[in-house]
Symmetry: C2
Subunit: 337 residues, 2 copies
Amino acid sequence: MKDGLGPPAYADILDASKRLSRVAARTPLLACPAADVICHGRVLVKAEVLQRTGSFKFRGAYNLISRLSGEDRARGVVAYSSGNHAQAVAAVAELLGVPATIVMPGDAPRLKIEATRGYGAEVVLYDRYGESREAIAAALVAESGATLVPPFDHPMIIAGQGTVGLEIGEEMTTRDMAPDIVLVPCSGGGLVAGTALAVKHRFPAAAIHSVEPDGFDDTARSLRAGTRQQADRGARSICDALLAPTPGELTFPINRSLLAGGFSVSDEMARAAMAFAFRHLKLVVEPGGAVALAALLSGKVGCAGKTVVVVCSGGNVDPDVFSAALAPAPEPRLASG
Amino acid sequence: MKDGLGPPAYADILDASKRLSRVAARTPLLACPAADVICHGRVLVKAEVLQRTGSFKFRGAYNLISRLSGEDRARGVVAYSSGNHAQAVAAVAELLGVPATIVMPGDAPRLKIEATRGYGAEVVLYDRYGESREAIAAALVAESGATLVPPFDHPMIIAGQGTVGLEIGEEMTTRDMAPDIVLVPCSGGGLVAGTALAVKHRFPAAAIHSVEPDGFDDTARSLRAGTRQQADRGARSICDALLAPTPGELTFPINRSLLAGGFSVSDEMARAAMAFAFRHLKLVVEPGGAVALAALLSGKVGCAGKTVVVVCSGGNVDPDVFSAALAPAPEPRLASG
């Protein structure tokens, strides 16, 4: 636990859902016959790229910031983020009339930096490999009395992201279906923790898996070890949204207790999944947002005869990166069978 | 009227909706704050790119083919199409176990030809500028006794496409909103006719407009003239889905009676709308599918203070064409004010 805050409960997700109902999109759960053929199962894609600000991050940011008192709102919010949380905090702050300062790495996608500024936030750039974003944010908070909106390690952030799982569960129930496997992109683990809390409440037998980029599979390693492990020092990935070096203090105990395990995928597999989503889903998915789909298409997950839900978590990608992913793009296939 | 078939009624759209409920996607109606800012109104995007086969065409094709008798199904179906109707007929035929032969122009997007073959249809290519697709299809029908599935001029096709309008109407009612303006891409006019029938039933004051590529604005001209006019001979456009040279015999009387008018847009405006959809909606939209959004963003439509629904009708586009649209892509802006 962090700052004395305990983990969120299912009731917190229900509460977040009510709070979000008038402002967030209820994103569709799309069928994908082309993926069904590849994995010999039934695939449903939670298209969270269609969420406000282009990623699931709007949910957690709104759930936290909308609870601040008028006094706290006036002092503003501070966040650090490689881009999706940045845009979400900036957009929510604009919506609620709260001043926002966002600490972002200088090598974040241009589109993410521009969009964050576009929502009226002040952006402070730092060197991802030489400076501590936590330290910069802490100094800003100390100076202004602003509220720090952490990217994942806060019960209200986790509960907000958990509404993704709540919607999956409700929609599956409406369609008289049950998920056997749920694949969720993972950085600090907030989305997968919240999703697991919500999905397991309704479908206790569902196997929830985190999916990370190769080298940044600290959650997968931690799940195997039972304790929080680090990502590879010096690892690089095009999945700019998924570079957190270690699982969260609040998120990891939830994931350890609820997840069936973790997968990781290469940059090449993430690009192939982006090309697949372009061709068969007509969705723009960013590299990090495509890793769960990549795990599915790669054949790493035993999906034969199963009902599989894949979360595509974000679509904020620069045009040149997107076009490069489409260019070579052989259709991903199962390694065997 | 054609072959003695009368125009569809609102009840036919309700009936089509029931028939489609288990097989077609109910596509989302997405908010778009970035478009709200540009047009000083409230914009909702009907994301029909997320429909099965990547365009609205699945609706009409399924509504017609699923009504064929077992005997007619055994003799197969024939269709001519530049690509979206082709894929839809092929996919529906595969779903229902009906043999399909599709007549497509040799210069259709590769992705559309490949997808049509992928659904198991036999594809017959022809020269768009030298041969008559209608004549080729008629010869195939005469030979095999197959049923021709026309791209727009059939009451069951129009009623099927009308379910787009039905969903727009239902969703707006649920959200306690009313559309002032509805913008719909138009080739032969089946989608806009069906959409107008459905939307005007619930919202008689809504102003429905067709949107076509410059030079192929035969529906806009026909609406002004009151009689069916031709597109420019020798006109060219990247909007491969919208090259029908004249309004349909069945669709035009419906559109003449229900539409407020028609707009047309340049290829450049269509490309800018594709780039906008990539950036702000995270949707893959093909050139022809983006013309209604293009009309909105161009400032041609007086949207200030209005609630505007824009249909993005298809997303089947080759990667090189899509990447080229993203490459230069200045954000579209209003010409003035």
